[in-house]
């Protein structure tokens, strides 16, 4: 088996026991990137010199007998909205095409402290707005399982890199499903942690009451390892939760006896394809065979999630993206004699792509005088109703099992003219962000050789139960051992 086929956990063990050096690992992944990147296009920026330099440094420390950390020598792809000092962070936008972050995000610091090696910055939908990575201002990413299809989005570069074995790990961000939906499309494991578990310091903001950074990997153990590294309190994010972290890999016991699995019927309606329903139902049966119990549920407010999301997220985005004014950093477009308003308005019209402008305008309208109560305030109240439905559900069960996405990956270009069809791709993931809950997507079958995702949702800060259930299911199947064919 080639080194690039190894899991992050296996690589860290091989390196620790000096069966292979960090440099050999990095060289192997850089060679893999050279081989497949032209077809997949996962990365906005690949970092060969930086990665090799860092690998040599870690090898040196290892030779000195130092512990180089739980992710020591493991390459990782980082979504290009996470600031990395001295390296371009573009958000896949013309607005930030030449922006070089002067500081590291909290998660980048955590990765460095644990020995991981950032091998590239992953492509995404511009400012994380989209479900296919086709909204990147630079180029679309291709799904490694079928290059004519989208990888999902917005973290499509991150999941494609992991599925194509260009990196064993990746970081994504999830505002309405942007980790889980592309993980499902690319046959990866992707976890959105509880809101507040991972610091957003240095994450370029989209919708601040929803955004969360999370891990992407090829199996549940690697996902738990990466979560352990990035989770934890940070004073620089005022929504960061300050309480002791559990040992996430210790949760991977394989035991789901007595686990109460809630099955909310609303997640199986709303345009979910029959083959998805069948695969997810079979996965639930598998958990039952291992001793779990099924609890049938109804969550009537869930059907209002999409409308609620498309008020709240653009409203917060319109405020967050007001900072792109052509003054402190980023693009500036101005002609001689332009006043500051003209400079601002030209910069924003040319720097932002269509989808970003569209959402800024929705948010601007929803927050404007005379409309605030009808839209933003109303949506926040409906958000409370959605949360209550989840609270009721978790009074009766430990974890919820649903599809991650209603279909498998769709063809590139097939939904770009119908923005609302695209938004339906997130119908099963958005309710989770509304309630701030942790949720994982992992492979549970295939339809026409394309992966299908199972979503397991947990109660607040109960990542351990989510990981335990996901791991028990994964270990009873062979789905995670399948490899994308890259054609």
């Amino acid at each position: 088996m080639a080194l690039f086929e190894f899991s992050a956990y296996q690589l860290s063990q091989q390196i620790k026991h000096k069966k292979v050096s960090c440099r050999e690992v990095v060289d192997e992944f850089l060679e893999r990137i050279d081989d497949v990147e032209e077809r997949v296009k996962s990365f906005v920026t690949v970092l060969p010199e930086e990665a090799r330099r860092r690998a040599d440094l870690l090898d040196h420390r290892l030779a000195q007998g130092e512990d180089i950390g739980p992710l020591g020598g493991v390459p990782i792809a980082v979504k290009d909205l996470i600031c990395t000092r001295g390296v371009r962070t573009t958000c896949s936008s013309k607005m930030l095409e030449n922006f070089v972050a002067p500081y590291d995000a909290h998660v980048a610091e955590r990765l460095a402290a644990d020995g991981a090696i950032t091998i590239g910055k992953a492509n995404m939908d511009e400012f994380a707005m989209g479900s296919s990575t086709e909204n990147s201002a630079f180029f679309p990413t291709h799904n490694p399982w079928d290059l004519s299809r989208v990888p999902g989005g917005s973290s499509g570069g991150s999941t494609a890199a992991v599925a194509a074995r260009e990196a064993p790990l990746a970081l994504g961000s999830d505002t309405g499903g942007s980790i889980r939906q592309p993980a499902a499309y690319c046959g990866c494991v992707g976890l959105k942690p509880t809101y507040g578990l991972v610091s957003r310091y240095g994450l370029i903001a989209f919708a601040s009451s929803l955004d969360q950074i999370g891990p992407i990997a090829n199996d549940v153990r690697d996902t738990a390892l990466l979560l352990q590294s990035i989770a934890g309190h940070d004073r620089r994010d005022t929504t960061s939760i300050n309480r002791p972290l559990p040992d996430y890999t210790a949760a991977l016991t394989g035991d789901v006896k007595g686990l109460r699995v809630g099955v909310p019927q609303e997640f199986f309606a709303q345009g979910v394809e029959g083959y998805v329903v069948d695969a997810v139902s079979a996965a639930i049966d598998k958990l039952v065979q291992q001793g779990a119990e099924v609890v049938e549920l109804s969550m009537p407010s869930v059907e209002y999630s999409l409308a609620t999301y498309y008020i709240i997220a653009p409203s917060e985005a319109s405020s967050n993206l007001a900072r792109y004014d052509g003054v402190q950093y980023g693009l500036r477009v101005a002609e001689p004699g332009d006043d500051i308003i003209a400079m601002l308005s030209k910069t924003r019209a040319q720097g932002f792509g269509h989808e970003v402008q569209h959402r800024i305008m929705i948010g601007t309208h929803a927050l404007s005088s005379g409309f605030y109560d009808a839209y933003y305030a109303k949506a926040q109240k409906v958000r409370t109703l959605i949360r209550r439905d989840f609270e009721n559900a978790f009074a009766q069960c430990d974890v919820l099992a649903t599809p991650t996405a209603p279909t498998v990956a769709f063809e590139l270009g097939s939904k770009t003219d119908d923005p609302f069809a695209m938004k339906l791709a997130d119908v099963c993931t958005i309710p989770v962000n509304m309630a701030g809950l942790p949720a994982i997507s992992l492979p549970c079958g295939f339809h026409q050789n394309l992966p299908i995702g199972l979503q397991l949702i947990g109660n607040l800060l109960d990542e351990s139960t989510v990981l335990r259930a996901a791991h028990a299911y994964e270990q009873s199947t062979e789905w995670h051992k399948q490899r994308a064919k890259l054609c």
Binding site: S209, D339, A342, F352, T364, T384, L385, G436
Partner: protein, 97 residues
């Protein structure tokens, strides 16, 4: 519900987006579509429902107001589109006497 051209102009002005006539026409159409979809929420009675702004009951996080090291000025200015004398440069905003 359809937005008038004047309403679209007003939104574009508030958002500081200098859009062409064609872009305004498209924006009007797409915004009207999504606003129609939002009407779905009026089916729900939310009279006595508290709004959710954050899922955790977050309170203000305070620290002492004491100066701390920050990024060096030259590093902060590295990304500035235009700078002069160690400052960000913008088109004139105040008229000279």
């Amino acid at each position: 519900m359809s937005l008038t051209p004047e309403e679209v102009d007003h939104i574009a002005l508030l958002a500081r987006l200098d859009l062409s006539a064609a872009e305004r026409e498209r924006a009007g159409r797409e915004l009207s579509q999504i606003l129609d979809h939002f009407q779905q929420l009026s089916e729900l009675d939310t009279t006595d429902v508290e709004p959710t702004s954050h899922v955790f009951p977050v309170v203000n996080v305070l620290r002492e107001d004491r100066s701390r090291p920050s990024l060096p000025r030259n590093e902060v200015l590295l990304n500035a589109p235009e700078q002069a004398d160690g400052m960000f440069q913008v088109p004139r905003v105040v008229e000279a006497d």
